[in-house]
């Protein structure tokens, strides 16, 4: 299970914190996902300029990550007061999320694939949690107010379940695609 993890699995493990905590609704997911991606890009390009000792590099990057997440948190709630209701401590904690440091890794070379998978996952989890847990989407009421289809989804256990189901769907699709490709290659060889 742990060998040869896919990018999606690594995103899931390294970014589980914002995936569970920052996806109560779609607005919140968008704000946290975009903030995480921007911080990741800044860290990646700053890490690329480093030429000194290995250990110091990581300590500086970690300090930078924490500082950037604080700056994002303060900026968002000051410049866009409307968004304050959509931010929470998880925006502040982006600085300690390992996924934002992936660009500085010496062995992981698909930086933008990580960001793409993370963004898609955040949006999907946020959208599903809002629709099922609150009965709304982007604040627009879809069901009778006060009667969401699956109220428990807005809480922590629901977040686990939604992440698990989305991951399962993506994984089934990916495996089917690989299987179909192999079958196509096989039929071409026979022809």
């Amino acid at each position: 299970m742990d060998n040869d993890l896919t990018i999606l699995e690594k995103v899931l493990l390294m970014g589980l914190l914002p995936l569970l905590g920052g996806t109560t609704n779609l607005y919140q997911s968008l704000i946290i996902a975009l903030s995480a991606i921007i911080i990741s890009i800044i860290i990646k390009y700053i890490a690329d300029t480093f030429t000194f000792e290995y250990d110091y590099k990581w300590y500086i990057l970690f300090g930078l990550g924490i500082t950037l997440s604080y700056i994002f948190y303060i900026t968002i709630i000051n410049i866009f007061p409307f968004f304050e209701m959509y931010t929470n401590i998880y925006l502040l904690l982006l600085g300690v999320t390992p996924l934002i440091y992936i660009g500085a890794s010496s062995t992981e070379h698909h930086f933008f694939d990580y960001q793409k998978d993370f963004f898609i996952l955040m949006i999907m989890v946020g959208a599903f949690r809002e629709m099922l847990g609150l009965g709304t989407i982007l604040g627009i009421q879809l069901t009778k107010p006060g009667y969401p289809p699956f109220g428990f989804v807005k809480d922590f256990p629901g977040a686990f379940l939604i992440v698990s189901v989305i991951y399962l769907i993506v994984e089934v699709t990916r495996r089917n695609k690989i299987k179909n490709n192999k079958q196509d290659e096989g039929s071409e060889k026979i022809v």
């Binding site: 299970m1 742990d2 401590i89 390992p98 992981e108 686990f160 698990s164």
Partner: protein, 183 residues
């Protein structure tokens, strides 16, 4: 049910925010081939987190309120202390997908202190929440190791032998705990 008992049940799983760190990253560091090894490693990690959380809370409480903006710096120092302890135990050697392991542990150590501080708890409440956090995480380490072992030897389709099954199992467990809270 008393306020502290409810807080304990809340914090052990269904509102265990530090668990998100543990599950994502720390579990990968703690998890070993056998349940016994996972248990020993898990004990080392959760006991460090427990002590560091108390230390961070104490330092935060001793300092006057106008020093609150310095909290991240205080938590960073206590986090480094935790890293030193775990390094001494030999638990932070090597890398994980190109990231050094000591960088990965900084997240759980720093984040759980920040989470406890954000709750503005009194000492008894902090101890209850802290104990529930580490107990919930430790139980899950062992449970996940067992579930994982079962999944790998089961006849299930390969697609179910993945993290999605583990996450679904945790969700069910959390729902069970919520059931207790409703009593």
């Amino acid at each position: 049910m008393s306020e502290l008992q409810r807080l304990f049940l809340d914090s052990i799983l269904s509102k265990n925010m530090s668990l998100a760190y543990f599950l994502g990253v720390l579990y990968m560091m703690v998890e070993s081939k056998t349940i016994k090894e996972t248990t020993i490693k898990g004990l080392k990690f959760v006991s460090t987190v427990f002590v560091i959380n108390i230390l961070g809370w104490l330092l935060n409480s001793i300092l006057p309120a106008y020093y609150d903006p310095l909290n991240p710096a205080i938590f960073f120092i206590t986090t480094l202390l935790g890293v030193i302890i775990l390094k001494y135990w030999g638990e932070l050697d090597g890398e994980w997908f190109g990231l050094p392991r000591y960088i990965l542990i900084i997240g759980p150590l720093f984040g759980s202190q920040l989470l406890i501080q954000s709750g503005n708890f009194t000492y008894p409440k902090m101890m209850v929440v802290n104990s529930a956090y580490v107990l919930g995480s430790f139980i899950l380490f062992v449970l996940i190791a067992s579930i994982k072992e079962e999944i790998l030897v089961s006849d299930a389709s390969p697609v179910f032998k993945s993290y999605s099954t583990i996450l679904a199992a945790i969700a069910m467990l959390a729902l069970g705990i919520i059931g207790f809270q409703l009593i």
